[in-house]
């Protein structure tokens, strides 16, 4: 039972760090921290065999989302010539 509480504390702390941070580039790692913590919450919340599939789908989706935001913010691919 202590693991899910620890994951909730990590998620809320990372959300507060995102609020407090001014620079956009420093906000982006904490989005990944929130996605990891919420993945752990989903996996630990229900004892059902389909829960791990939902957690894996959320992990893939949120990592894709935060990396898309980061690569668009940094300017995308640079083309020479």
């Amino acid at each position: 039972m202590i693991a899910i509480y620890l994951c909730t504390v990590i998620a809320v702390y990372a959300a507060l760090r995102i609020i407090a941070e001014r620079n956009t580039m420093r906000k982006l790692p904490f989005v990944n921290v929130i996605s990891f913590a919420v993945t752990a919450i989903i996996a630990l919340l229900l004892p059902h065999p389909l829960t791990i599939l939902a957690a894996a789908a959320f992990f893939v989706g949120s990592t894709f989302e935060s990396n898309a935001i980061a690569s668009t913010w940094s300017g995308g691919m640079k083309r020479n010539g």
Binding site: M1, I4, Y5, T8, V9, A11, V12, A15, L16, I18, I19, T24, K27, L28, V31, I34, S35, V38, I41, I42, L45, L46, H48, L50, T51, L53, A54, A57, F58, V60, G61, S62, F64, E65, S66, A68, I69, T72, W73, G75, G76
Partner: protein, 76 residues
């Protein structure tokens, strides 16, 4: 046990909502929107709607990518 976790998810939703309202930069708004979507998921899983959670986890990043196409930085 579930009440504390659900209260933390509600705090996550409220933090994402207020940050999405008061931030100026569109990338900050997208980051706040991703916090809000992450806070919605424990409520869906808590009711046992796991197929809805799987479909939403695969569809929700697509909306973010479509908004990113709109606010992409153009080369001058």
């Amino acid at each position: 046990m579930d009440e504390i976790v659900m209260a933390a998810a509600a705090i996550l939703i409220l933090i994402g909502m207020t940050a999405a309202i008061f931030s100026r930069d569109p990338f900050d708004k997208l980051i706040s929107l991703s916090i809000l979507i992450a806070g919605v998921f424990p409520f869906i899983v808590n009711r046992g709607l796991l197929d809805v959670a799987i479909a939403l986890a695969l569809i929700a990043p697509l909306s973010t990518v479509f908004i990113l196409m709109a606010c992409q930085r153009r080369a001058p």
